[in-house]
Symmetry: C2
Amino acid sequence: TNQRSETFQNKAPASIKSDTLMKSAGKSLKEALLSAQSEQRITVGVYESAKIMTEDPDSVSFCVLATDEEFECDIALQIHFTLIQSFCFDNDISIVRVSDTQRLAEIVGDKAEQLEDAHCVLITNPSEGSWDEPALEKLHVFCEERRRQNDWLPEVSLPGGGR
Amino acid sequence: TNQRSETFQNKAPASIKSDTLMKSAGKSLKEALLSAQSEQRITVGVYESAKIMTEDPDSVSFCVLATDEEFECDIALQIHFTLIQSFCFDNDISIVRVSDTQRLAEIVGDKAEQLEDAHCVLITNPSEGSWDEPALEKLHVFCEERRRQNDWLPEVSLPGGGR
């Protein structure tokens, strides 16, 4: 099998898991999420996200998986994460993971149900002709660099402080 | 996006959809399924199949999706099929589709519940050191040839007559 299938098991070597990079990428992610949300370009939930990405992969710009400890007990969620990760790779969709589901939910959730299902969040593309904003652009570069290091599902640290 | 994502929508050109090939591959598939079943190397069900392939992709030799008309109304099933297809491609697992779920269920099902969930069936690898049987080998060659024609999820026709 290839290396990507083992991302959940084999963590990247400590040398390339720089805290500073993870935090900087996390700051960009929070910015990108808030900006996308103000433009209704956010999809929250594993089912809804999988639906949108499989129906129209070109409409998806970025994917976030929340893989906290709770996730490790949830086999169905793990299966979906592995399949979604594979699909994102095939369709050139940048993808990262965060370990703090609660923090992610606080940023994107405005309904109680969303807080419960923020294990997968998508940012869809802005309207045609407009550019990716700088925060999202930074995240794409971050993911590209990590992939070059064989880190196929890089972790980022979201800053605290809610919205 | 790449072409594989569109397999469900864009059928292969008629010229490469030879009935004879589909039926010959279908005969091999039935043989391979029955042989695998006699050795307990069959997994039936979307959830169980996705679980096994994501946990240990190297253990999976072949994947069959049953995409009949009923499937077209089932969005969750379509999502799973697209994700599974992507995962199989990434992990070099040969995959085909059949349009007759009932026929597939009759071949692999020995319990009532399996008849209902035969939308995805896996053949896992024989024990280490032994060879793929000829029927499975033929199917791998069939899939490889189809992929070369950009047919990423080739259809095969299972022969009738139950087991």
